[in-house]
Amino acid sequence: MYSEINSNKWKSVLLFFGFFIFIGILAYVINLLFFQGITFIIFAAVIAVIFALISYYSGDKIVLAMSHAKEANKKDHAHLINTVEGLAIAAGIPKPKVYVIPGNQINAFACGRNYNNSSVAFTEGAIQKLNRQELEGVIAHELSHIKNYDIRVMVLASVLVGIIVFTSEIMLRSFLFGGIGSNDNRGGRANLIFIVIGIILLILAPIIAQMIKFAISKKREYLADASGALLTRYPKGLADALKKIKNDTSELKTASSSTSHLFISNPFKKKQWLSNMFNSHPPIDQRIQKLESM
């Protein structure tokens, strides 16, 4: 358990490192091709530091806002809040904030940077479709992610990779739809920059995906399943919940490829090339099997 926490703290540092190296290479190439001096590199470094600080301190809020999660109130979700509090006591961690995500799909995730700044979010579908034991199993799984410090690595991976994916999308779009035909010298130069960045990102996309997979290994989900079962002392609860998730066909519109690995199971039910590349979830049947053999 303690070695798991340490390895997660190291991975967070490595993620920052990877992010800076990535921005560094990008800035260096652009600088080499289009600019003289080091002004652009300094500019890029400042932006990268700001992004890194934001993702460390507000990564959880960004992820929650991206999922349109609202904080649960005691009146509508008394049972959910009580169960989270109870299991947090069992896990020996401070009570996390509880959020509700609109949407019919059964899903949930945990986020934050440490014990005192952590949140758990559940979809409306999860609250309605799961029975008491199943919901307890899912909550215990999420709390285990908090306890193991998985949340810090996962949120950082989400936001840092999200920034890269987001910029590359803007670049590619402005390249595709922007004025390719413009003969104006400055516009042509800007276009060239976008093309270069676009090509670099296209080459690097598999590497980024590999980075996420490194940060969010499949072992992490199995481990959270196991320690979650240790909290509820009832592995069947989570196994039943996973079965319901497997047969659930609802889509979750607020999930994106950069946040999908946070969820307890892949929010994209249809197979897509991009989401498949970024998918870090172990096969659900194997998870059920492992839980049932406990």
Binding site: A78, N82, T83, E85, G86, I89, A90, A91, G92
Partner: protein, 167 residues
Amino acid sequence: MYIIMAYNRFIVLRNRINNAWSQIDVQLKRRYDLIPNLISTVKGYVKHEKTVLTELTKARSQLVSGSMEQKAKASNQITDALKSIFAVAENYPQLKANENFKMLQEELSGTESKIAYARQFYNDSVMSFNTKIQGFPTNLIANLFKFDEKEFFKTEGKEKENIKVEF
């Protein structure tokens, strides 16, 4: 060096036990405070089965600051008394529809499971502490600094039997 590390580990574990115990205490107190509200809500509706209420009041009054064993016993009695009240309430549709009662029922069953979870955390902590005290070579350090084994928070046999009743 090893002695210092082992000693500090004992301190960490012992503090975790104390923290776990205070978690139980907080939840016991919370339930203690909710019970009078429940009694005053139920009193107006229940005509014949007044005895369950007096039993609850009696069990509650026994939950005074005492040793862990006494507290565990009183706590189990309250759990049983609450169960019979909620069973009796099934016969009173008006009571079951009462908003205040519904809220109290959710709160009390929430607190009830929190007590169970706090007890689980406490017993887990006690187990790792005791394992350290019994194991070699940490037992030598435990002897040296006079760390004593801690007691588990036990439940009555009756409560254990009831686990299967879920629906």
